[in-house]
């Protein structure tokens, strides 16, 4: 059994994108193996990658699109949560929360998982002075869903989940992941996703106006000192 308290993992880690995805997977697996019932990690990558579920590999034209993105300095990597392509870079902070829950208990599944991640995130933003943060869709945003953390309707945090059976019992392990754009401009990241759309021959394009970076909403925020407040809220809600 791992005796680590989640509080011991509150430092923002700086892996590569590939390393960060491996951290998420290790966190979920530690719940599945019964090593702990709750865990939390935060990471921001040192490099760049466009990250998507592996099913995108089946798209016609994927090999060419992969080369085109690589030429732009954006290798494509795969993740285990759902959704569509998302850019990862030092301008994005990821927070993954994993916990063990009982299927059929009062803890509902999908929506509950998103609120378990998103509600404390909105509370944290409110504590920093953002009064119009909520959960919802952001039409025109890449990897849109019903449970983005939004500021004034614009997507700040994209969220996704993975569910896996805990070994040897009927409990489930849930990993809820949030990717928050903290720096750069939305245009810079939207451009990367649209380049993939173009390369894959998909006419859908995304709009920077549907996104917001934390630095735009809270200019001058010292993220290193503010981030532990988010992680504490996420831990306390369990």
């Amino acid at each position: 059994m791992t005796a680590l308290s989640p509080l011991e993992e509150f430092d923002l880690q700086r892996p590569t994108v590939e390393g960060g995805l491996a951290l998420d997977e290790a966190l979920l697996e530690s719940i599945c193996q019964g090593e702990r019932r709750f865990g939390l990690i935060a990471w921001s990558s040192t490099d760049h990658a466009l990250v998507m579920p592996r099913r995108h590999e089946r798209l016609e034209g994927f090999p060419m699109a992969r080369r085109a993105l690589l030429d732009r300095g954006w290798p494509i990597l795969f993740r285990s949560t759902g959704g569509t392509p998302v850019p990862q870079s030092p301008a994005v902070v990821n927070v993954a929360l994993a916990l063990r829950c009982r299927v059929g208990s009062s803890a509902a599944h999908l929506e509950w998982g998103y609120r378990r991640l998103g509600d404390p995130w909105c509370d944290w933003l409110a504590s920093l002075g953002v009064q119009d943060a909520d959960l919802g869709s952001a039409p025109g945003a890449y990897c849109d869903g019903r449970f983005n953390v939004r500021i004034a309707g614009r997507k700040l945090v994209g969220t996704a989940q993975r569910w896996r059976r805990v070994r040897g019992c009927k409990d489930m392990a849930m990993l809820a992941h949030g990717a928050m754009q903290v720096g750069e401009t939305p245009e810079a990241l939207v451009e990367v996703v649209n380049a993939f759309q173009d390369a894959i021959g998909d006419p859908q394009r995304f709009h920077a106006a549907s996104h917001v970076a934390l630095a735009q909403a809270l200019p001058g925020l010292d993220l290193d000192s503010a981030l532990p407040g988010l992680l504490e809220r996420l831990a306390e809600a369990s």
Partner: protein, 78 residues
Amino acid sequence: MTTEITVPEDLWEGDTEGVITAWLVDDGAEVAQGDLVAEVMVEKAQYEIEAPVSGKLSIARAEDDVVAKGTTIARLEA
């Protein structure tokens, strides 16, 4: 004896349909009880589907097929 692999009724709330995003084993493969065999995505959430018993897998629904809760996606012949 044939055992169906279905999308569990308790995986998510509501009537939203999911998509089979991946088969993790090949059609006709022998699998053991508890092996992960497929992934289903709904609302940006990936759920893993396990084999309920050991046996030879016969896939009934292909990758990218839309599925509702309770849908039979494969059969296992013990």
